[in-house]
């Protein structure tokens, strides 16, 4: 792990702790905790998780499916429009590698609402 990644993990754990407290106060129903395991497994998962949830929820990332090139464009927007500090060199590569593998282009995945009927009832 590079020092850069180590640093990010430390800082972002604090953010998660704060967010968790809010949920504990305000929620009675169980909710998926906002932690790295909500991202698919893969090399550098935790680091990418913490970078990408510094400002917004993981949902925004998980809902997407892009090629590596398009993920690079998305990160470009994060930097240009949203104040994300630019990732460079190896850090950028690692982040893009993870995102492209974990969240590749996907189809609409139409699921018949009746498919799991017998178990749902």
């Amino acid at each position: 792990m590079t020092r850069w990644f180590a640093a990010v993990v430390l800082a972002a754990s604090l953010a998660v702790a704060a967010g968790g407290a809010v949920f504990a106060q305000s929620s009675s129903a169980e909710r998926e905790p906002e932690e790295p395991t909500v991202f698919p497994e893969g090399e550098n998962r935790d680091e990418v998780f913490y970078v990408c949830t510094a400002c917004h929820g993981s949902d925004l990332v998980r809902a997407q499916g892009h090629s590596r090139e398009r993920w690079a464009e998305v990160l470009g927007i994060m930097v240009e429009k949203h104040n994300m500090a630019p990732l460079e060199g190896e850090d950028l590569d690692k982040t893009l590698d993870y995102l492209a593998k974990a969240f590749p282009p996907k189809g609409r995945g139409y699921t018949n609402p009746f498919l799991n009927r017998s178990t749902a009832k």
Binding site: R3, W4, A6, A7, V8, L10, A11, A12, L14, A15, A18, G19, V22, F23, Q25, S26, S27, S28, A29, E30, R31, E32, V51, A54, C55, H56, G57, D59, L60, A63, Q64, G65, H66, S67, E69, R70, E73, V74, I77, V79, E80, K81, H82, N83, M84, A85, P86, E88, P105, K106, G107, R108, G109, Y110, T111, N112, P113, F114, R117, A120
Partner: protein
Amino acid sequence: MAKGWKERGFFELYQDDPERADALVFGRRTGASRRGFLQGTGLAAMGAMVGGAIPFSGNMPSGLIPAAMAQGSAAAPKILKMDGKAELVILGDKPFVAETPEHLLNDDITPNDKIFIRNNGTPPDAAGNPDSWELTVDGEVNKALKLTLGELKQKFKPVTYALQMECGGNGRSFFEPKASGNQWTNGAISNARWTGVRLKDVLEAAGLKSSAVYTGHYGRDSHLSGDPNKPAISRGMPIAKAMEEHTIIAYAVNGGPIPQINGAPLRLIVPGWPGSTSQKWLSRIWIRDKEHDGQGMTGTSYRVPIKPMIPGSKADPKNFRILESMPVRSIITNIANGTELKAGTRAIALRGHAWAGEHSVAEVHVSGDYGQTWRKAKVAKAANKYAWQTWNADLTVPSEGYYEFWVRAIDSTGRGQSHAAANWNPQGYGGNVMHRIAVLIPA
């Protein structure tokens, strides 16, 4: 800039000065009232706003909510449980975004609890005294105005209209390959009865200079990065749209106060155009002498390609124009996707709404056989310009079994809805595929 912490080591830096460390690692600039990560998260603000009662439920009621058909992934939708809001589908909690499933949009006038939620940033705290809320109108005007909401109500004539308010990204989830952003199905739409003053009247009071060409809107929500100098969103419109009769500065909805999360106490309603022009928590309208260049105006945000691009390829921002009128769309609202109808059902009465941005809806068609045959629906007149229209249609099916009901509308200019989202663009604007629901008719 990034060098600072690489040289010194982040641990050391964080201990010395958390805010600086924060800025270096995430580029996040924190305001004087915020300290680093630990405060000012969207969720905390949201909890405060609704009185701390936001339990979430990860499970969908079986057979009730459109699952992957609507949502675009295998995961069950997260259902909102929040005072003052119906069971909307949560698309994200930071920023807080939730859509209204089509079957909750059956009312002709959308009640407050069913108005969808879209934030770009962190909402402000509720105003203690709404009547003292201030709005500034400045820029290319003869006399800049600073008005409280109380003065606004006193000085200008109130108007009330039923108005469509739709997120610019509505329908995004149907793009292939996937477009970036919130994966809306068709539920980022509302048609509530808004009360306010005409923007036109206020602009006339300020006196537009001949150099005025565009508006730029600002609200009191804050950017997710915590940078106090960066608006969460700041869009605008050409003066002609601002001067329309139905473009209003709203302070009430459905006869009462606007829900805090929907922009109380003051917001714009720019009907028929992407919802991002309808600035929430409105604090300033800057009259510009050129197209506004605020957050969300440039690049490929809220824009569509002029010449169609290869889906999934790299966008050339020069080939993009601002999305103005929203496209035509129709939804079935009286039967939820995944409903099991009564055994023996052969005749089905379908009902829903259709709207078309700045235009009106000319025709609505329904099909019970995947579009092989279509039947024309009865389409009612709009309550006023920019209100959606209600349609009704009867369908019969020949047997028991699994059916899909589809709906499509055609607007007054002859444009309709397609099977596949047209004119692909990286952030997914302008998609208007037909709405479809699946039902089961047991033997």
